[in-house]
Amino acid sequence: METMFGIAVDGVAYGMILFIISVGLSVTLGLMRVVNLAHGAFAMVGGYVASYAAQTAGLPYGVALVVAVALTVLAALPLERLLYRRIYGSANELAQVLLTIGLTFVIVAGINYLFGPTLKRIPLPELLTGTVELGPKAIPTHRAFVIGAGAATLLGLWWLLERTDFGIRLRAAVDDPAMAAALGIRTERLYLATFALGTGLAALGGVLGAELLPLEPYYAIRYIVLFLAVVAVGGAGSIFGSAAAALALGIVDTAGKYLIPNFGEFFFYAALILILFRWPHGFFKGRAA
């Protein structure tokens, strides 16, 4: 019983971190239909900016977080104008893959050049170190904080995308850009805004998840499969789906590692196959075809 509880708590804690670093991809991939393999790169850039802001410039954690998100978004906007804009549309999937891989390579090389190949960290404030007791389990305070942040992100996004005209217009613009434009929807600005949202979320995830996925130049490539798994299981574009998927995968992974550590990896991917077999469109039927 205690074991189960332990697995559940650790699993949820891990799952929420997975959610927060993957949900940005769900936005770009599911809502904008851009197979943005550079998602990890944006997360990494966010993390590095935060690391730099906190360690070298000595800003407090919260400020560093905001600066990181803002700067990453600012840096990504020209990329949207110059590169992404040309590859929107599902006919371009392969071009998207190629372009975003290329972009990832460039960012990896750039980060490597600027910050060197060694691991970087974002120092945590006093407040977020230590542990919180949860019955017989102790979980790190930082993770509890991430869980909270994840929940807030979840609700905020859901409201934005499902309950506002912005969400409707965005989905319309993705569904059929030409018709949306003919209805007076300014698709370009909408894409720009959504792209900014996606990158902002990536950066947020990069910063908050840095304790688990340490920052180094290869971050951008190392974890992309993990992000894709969450989005695929959740159903691309579904915010609740991503959350459910992240939690499910977090728990599966934790259970596998705890119960049969020697076959942990095997267990994780076998579970992934089973889940996708049962829900071929993800938990919450994805928007991307």
């Binding site: 217009r169 003919a182 929807i185």
Partner: protein, 241 residues
Amino acid sequence: MPTDPGGKSPGSLEVADLRAGYGKTLILDGISFSVPAGGRLALLGRNGVGKTTTLATLVGQTTRHGGGIRLDGVELGGMSSSARAAAGLGYVPQTRDIFKSLTVEENLVTGLKGRPRCALEEAYTLFPRLGERRRNGGGDLSGGEQQMLSVARALLGKPTVLLLDEPLEGLAPVICDTLMAALSGLDMTVVLVEQQVDRALEFADRVVFLDRGRVVHAGPAAQARTDTALLERHLGVVLAA
């Protein structure tokens, strides 16, 4: 005619020597016509002569190679599609172009152009069918329902010029009646492309015939209706008495 004489209602459309196509392929080879504010123009012609292309060019979905499009004296040619919509164009494409992943209601919301949500009732009054299906996915609708949705979506934005590409296709005859009646009651400029020539001519006050990307005849609709030779020549059809 419903337009009040000297009325200031906007919506005069002027198309001059329009040349356009898809990429490098030229389909429209110098098309000119004009519709006064509140006027109704039927744009007719055989299969593949460029009717759809003409409307698509007006809303900015093709490659324009030359010529001008003026709405109340303002040149639209260089504007983006969305800016033209903001300037007052409304469009019902031949392929309907429903947002398949949005619900019926969400589809209608995209057409509101800033009007309050309660305006949606107008659409449901015109097509009660849509009201019944408002929570359905747009892609799940039947062919005719999609057509209604497409028309309703365009009407909700209260355009000054409405461009209709075969709006009756796939609609049951009774619904065609309803729709044509509703369109007749509207106070806006309309350009109509339609295969049901009799209904189109009944509705319009002027008619333009296209062939291979050119205007081959322009004149009053009433005259065309009775001119069987004209119809035979440009459409290959004979209207039932």
